[in-house]
Each structure stands twice: as structure tokens, then as C-alpha cells.
């Protein structure tokens, strides 16, 4: 666990030695193999989640990262009570998720794609009305929350259209609205912006930030869009092949994997030489546009040097793209294993 959790705090999600295995049927190519497999099926046991330890505090936003098949969705399903672990323990808000206690279900929401909560054949407003009763909301609570969510998500114009006829973006926003109507204490988000255009992704991210600021639910988020993670989560848990490979601040992950920053500079004219012994190396040059990798502790020095030339049209200093970092992490884990 990262340092941030060493201080006493109330954990809303706790897992210990969590495992989930799946039996997967195997078959080699060909008719003979099919016949053999018919009489004697061959199964392989896949360890989708392996000895996972997870502690998430109240109101935390945690990015849950990993390549396809790493076990992220399986973990979310176990935490929300959809799947039973093969072994290990889970405690979410003091409940064992798989017992599906109604008090537990009233305290969580899982958003997994755009077809999770909305009634496909009815307009979203009908789903909201059903949820209102199922979750036992008073008229006042319902009216206030609907007003807030409709306003924050800008969905007033699609409330009365049949859900199946809504665009992906509209559906996703309505999906979020219905998932949040009962103000869950924990929100599991599995790829909430998948398939959406950049503008819509940003809208959803801003909404989630705004919502979190106001209501402080714990959020566990998986996303392949690193912009989502960078914008929403300070802390990330990275898993690969079901095993946790990193748990900590996003900035720590960046420092650990990439002790350098990217300095991009556009010169008005002339050249700029960068020496490896100064902790700087050129990675790209296109005319007057240079990109250097600079050791983090040498960045101020190099930047000062650049400014001193009095020849700078533009200068940016940034961390390497999160995608690259995560990719690098998975590669190193694969090599180690």
C-alpha cells in the first residue's frame, strides 16, 4: 500500500488475498481435435485475479489500470457482488458483496458500458421513476437529485426518448444519472468513456470531478483512456495477469518508471545543443522544434539555459504520456515474470 494509506482512515473497500479462477475450455485446430474434445473436454484454469490486496478509503478516486484481460472487470464484478471469489476475502462498506444485502446494493453503483442500468425499451425518465421507488427515495430527494443530475449532465433533451434510440454519448450520460440517483457511497466505473468522442469524454470527466467534489463517493475507475485516469485519479492500482504490480500516487508511478521529463522547445532561429552528461538527450528534431528527455532534477537548469539564449518561441515541460508509462510497466513486468 502507498504511504497515503498509512494514516488512520476508514476503508470502504478491503480485499485480502483475493483470487478468482475460471475454467476455460481448450481445443486445438481440426475436426479430430473437435471429436476428441467432445468426448474428453480439455480445460485450463485461468487465474484472473491473483492474491489481490486492496484498500480504498472513503471518498478516494482510484484508477484501476491494466491491459486487456488483466482482471480489472473481474475484480469490479467481485467487489460489486456479481462474482464469487474463488478464495480470499472482500469487505465493501462492511458487507460481503456476494451476499447481495439490499443495504449494500443501495450503497453502490456499477457502470459498465451504456446498457447497465437503463431500461432499453423505455425513455430514461421511466428508469429514473422506477429507481426512485426501488431505492425508496422521497419525492423531495428524487426531485432535487433529478434536477441536479439533469443540469450537470445536460440531458434534459433526451429524457423522454426511448433509450435504444439515444446516441452513445446521451446514453452514457443518462446511464450515469440513473446510477447516481440513489447517491451511492461507492461508484465502480468500468470504461465510462469508451467509444465516446473527445468532447464527450471531457464532459463526462468534468462531470465526475464535479460530482465527486460535491458528494464525495469513493470511485474505482478502469479506463483505457489515460486522460480519464490522469484527470480523475491521484492514486492508481495497476494489475497485470491478475496480480497487483503498482499501488500508489500517479506521480510516483511516473517518477518510478520515467525519471525524466519531456522538454519541447521551439526556437526562433539557430540551434541548441544538449549534452548527455548534463542529463539531457535529444529525442526528436524537426527544423526549429526540439524534444529532449531531461532528468527531473536537471529540468530547471536546462530550462534556465534555454531561456538564457533569448531565442525561445515556445517551451513546454511535460511528463511522458501515461500510455507509454503503463506500457513500459507491463513490459517490465512481463520480462520479470
Amino acid at each position: 500500500m502507498p504511504d497515503m494509506n498509512e494514516q488512520p482512515q476508514k476503508y470502504v473497500i478491503l480485499t485480502h488475498a483475493l483470487n478468482r479462477e475460471f475454467k476455460v475450455r481448450q481445443k486445438t485446430e481440426g475436426l479430430a481435435a473437435s471429436i476428441r474434445n467432445f468426448f474428453a473436454p480439455d480445460y485450463k484454469t485461468v487465474n484472473a485475479v491473483n492474491q489481490l490486496e486492496m484498500q480504498i478509503g472513503q471518498g478516494e478516486i482510484v484508477g484501476f489500470l491494466g491491459p486487456n484481460g488483466a482482471g480489472k472487470t473481474t475484480t469490479l464484478k467481485m467487489l460489486s457482488g456479481l462474482l464469487v471469489p474463488t478464495s480470499g476475502t472482500i469487505e465493501v462498506l462492511g458487507h460481503t458483496p456476494f451476499s447481495r444485502n439490499h443495504n449494500f446494493l443501495r450503497s453502490i453503483s456499477l457502470v459498465m458500458g451504456q446498457k447497465q442500468n437503463l431500461w432499453w425499451d423505455l425513455p430514461p425518465i421511466e428508469t429514473f421513476a422506477i429507481h426512485r421507488r426501488i431505492y425508496g427515495l422521497s419525492d423531495q430527494e428524487y426531485n432535487e437529485r433529478i434536477r441536479e443530475l439533469v443540469e450537470m449532465l445536460e440531458i434534459a433533451d433526451c429524457l423522454e426518448t426511448q433509450t435504444r434510440k439515444l446516441s452513445l454519448g446521451q446514453r452514457m450520460r443518462c446511464e450515469l444519472a440513473v446510477s447516481l440517483l440513489h447517491q451511492p457511497k461507492i461508484l465502480f466505473l468500468d470504461e465510462p468513456t469508451i467509444g465516446l468522442d473527445i468532447l464527450m469524454q471531457k464532459k463526462i470527466r468534468n462531470f465526475l470531478l464535479d460530482y465527486h467534489r460535491r458528494f464525495k463517493p469513493a470511485i474505482l475507475l478502469t479506463s483505457h483512456y489515460m486522460d480519464d485516469v490522469a484527470a480523475l485519479a491521484q492514486r492508481v492500482i495497476v494489475i497485470d495477469h491478475g496480480t497487483k504490480v503498482f499501488d500508489g500516487y500517479l506521480s510516483d508511478l511516473t517518477h518510478k518508471l520515467h525519471p525524466e521529463k519531456i522538454v519541447s522547445v521551439v526556437l526562433n532561429n539557430g540551434e541548441f545543443a544538449c549534452k548527455p552528461e548534463e542529463g539531457c538527450r535529444l529525442i526528436h528534431q524537426d527544423g526549429q522544434h526540439y524534444r529532449f528527455l531531461v532528468e527531473r532534477n536537471r529540468v530547471p537548469e536546462i530550462a534556465a539555459k534555454l531561456y538564457a539564449t533569448g531565442n525561445i518561441a515556445d517551451l513546454t515541460i511535460e511528463d511522458p504520456p501515461l500510455e507509454d508509462l503503463i506500457g513500459q510497466l507491463f513490459k517490465s513486468e512481463t520480462r520479470n515474470s
Binding site: 475460471f22 484472473a48 486487456n68 484481460g69 482482471g71 472487470t73 473481474t74 464484478k77 460489486s80 457482488g81 456479481l82 462474482l83 464469487v84 447481495r100 439490499h102 443495504n103 446494493l105 443501495r106 453502490i108 453503483s109 456499477l110 459498465m112 446498457k115 447497465q116 442500468n117 431500461w119 432499453w120 425499451d121 423505455l122 421511466e126 421513476a129 422506477i130 426512485r132 421507488r133 426501488i134 431505492y135 425508496g136 426511448q162 468500468d190
Partner: protein
């Protein structure tokens, strides 16, 4: 899973009514499905020569097949198709994550569906009755018989729901339960339930077996009551047998549900 204490039952029931009303074409198609086969069978039974031992005359067949579509509809259940689809497309997840008993939705859907089919079936049956009323004898109908008839419909509906539900829950393990349903439920139900042949016209041994199995109570039994063919003792005996099946299959359903959920892998990875 307390289905009586769950909040939102009426709203979910209303939602199913709204969905069915959205798809008017489907409603009509299901209505036709319920009408066509009994009409064909009625025509067949009326046109063939009856054997001497057959207790049914033309008027009995007419009344029987006048009621078959109505009872078939009122005891109908599509849980096999709906539940297996929910397992396959992952929409079962939605139900599992709500503080609402997941299987209650299928019961409410069945109520909505069966009630709305009456929109087509009652006018059709009434028109059919007007056409053949001179040949149908209803003088034996007493309020008590009508009450037994209504109770038998509810019992038949529950019996069909739990038998179909038990088969539906095998979707946790089997990709396609519709074939299993066709074997264990559809075929035997059509024969021993009294759809193809009225149970009362079976040879005694088969009639005895039909009386022991649950299928008769899903279709033939209410019609037999309405036709005045059963004594009060036979009616009570029928209720006891049917309720025993309902209890047995409810327990089976519960066991399969609990065990199935443990193997449920939902979708995605």
C-alpha cells in the same frame, strides 16, 4: 429474497406494461400464436369421427378449445427465453445489482404480458362464443365453480412459472435452454397438459399419469372445472397435487438459483 417486501413492485409491473404497449406488433404476433393452434386443433377434433368410448362430443370440444387460448395465455410464461437472454447478454447484471429480487421481475413481466394479451383474446373468444353459443351448454356454472376456475388459473400460472423458471435457470450452465424447455416443458405440456388432446379423453392409465404430473394443472384442469366435469373432491385433489408441484419446483428453483449464481461469470473479463 423477500418478494413481498420489495419496494418498486408496482413501478416495475407498470414498466412491463409500458414496454409491451411499445411493441404493439409483438403483442399481435403472440396473440396469433395463442389463437392459431387451438383453432386448428378444434377444427380437427370436430371433423373426425369420435370413438365410442370418447366422453367428449362436439359441444365439449367447442367449449374446450374456446377456453384453450385464454387459459394458455393466462398461464403463459416466457421466463425461459427472457432469462436465458439476460444471462447471455449480461442484462442479468442489472437485476443483480438492484435492491430488488431479480426473479420477481420475471413474475411481474408474466403478469403484464398475460394481462395485455387479453386485449386480443377476450373479444376474439367472445365473438367465437357468439358464433357457437347454441351448441355450448353453460347451465351448470355456479359462482363456486367460477371461483374454483379462477383459483385454478392462478395455480396453473404459478405451476407453469416455477417449472419454466427451473428450466430457465439452467441457463447458468447451458448455452441454449430452449431445446431443454422444448423437451421437458413444451412437448410434454402440449400432450399431457391437454393442448393437443383434452386430458379427459385419454385412456385411463395415461389420464392417471397426467393427473400426477404438473402439466395438466397448467391448462386442462381449469377447463375441466369450468366444463363441470370434476367433482368437488377431484377439484380439491387437483389443487393439492398442483400446489405440491409448485412448492417442489419453488424449492428446486431456489437451489438452482443459489448454485447458479456461484457459477455465473457474467460477461467481459
Amino acid at each position: 429474497m423477500n418478494i413481498f417486501a420489495a419496494s418498486g413492485k408496482l413501478e416495475v409491473l407498470a414498466a412491463y406494461f409500458k414496454i409491451i404497449l411499445t411493441y404493439r406488433g409483438m403483442l399481435l404476433i403472440h396473440g396469433l400464436r395463442l389463437l392459431l393452434l387451438p383453432m386448428v386443433l378444434a377444427s380437427a377434433w370436430l371433423s373426425i369421427e369420435k370413438t365410442p368410448g370418447n366422453p367428449y362430443g362436439d359441444s365439449d370440444y367447442l367449449l374446450y378449445y374456446l377456453l384453450v387460448p385464454l387459459i394458455m395465455n393466462l398461464t403463459d410464461s416466457r421466463i425461459v427465453f427472457k432469462f436465458s437472454l439476460a444471462v447471455k447478454d449480461g442484462s442479468l447484471n442489472r437485476d443483480l445489482l438492484k435492491p430488488f429480487p431479480p426473479l420477481l421481475g420475471y413474475l411481474l413481466e408474466s403478469i403484464a404480458n398475460n394481462a395485455l394479451q387479453l386485449v386480443y383474446l377476450i373479444p376474439f373468444s367472445f365473438a367465437f362464443w357468439l358464433f357457437v353459443r347454441d351448441r355450448i351448454v353453460l347451465t351448470h356454472l355456479q359462482p363456486s365453480l367460477l371461483l374454483f376456475f379462477l383459483i385454478a388459473i392462478i395455480v396453473g400460472w404459478l405451476a407453469r412459472l416455477v417449472v419454466s423458471g427451473s428450466i430457465a435457470l439452467f441457463s447458468f450452465w447451458i448455452e441454449d435452454v430452449t431445446t431443454l424447455n422444448l423437451v421437458l416443458n413444451g412437448g410434454i405440456w402440449a400432450l399431457l397438459g391437454g393442448m393437443i388432446v383434452p386430458v379427459a379423453t385419454f385412456p385411463e392409465k395415461i389420464r392417471y399419469i397426467a393427473g400426477l404430473l404438473p402439466y395438466r394443472y397448467m391448462l386442462s384442469f381449469p377447463i375441466e372445472i369450468f366444463s363441470g366435469r370434476l367433482s368437488t373432491a377431484e377439484i380439491y385433489q387437483g389443487f393439492v397435487t398442483a400446489i405440491m408441484w409448485i412448492v417442489l419446483f419453488s424449492v428446486i428453483m431456489r437451489i438452482i438459483w443459489k448454485s447458479g449464481l456461484k457459477t455465473y461469470t457474467a460477461y467481459g473479463g
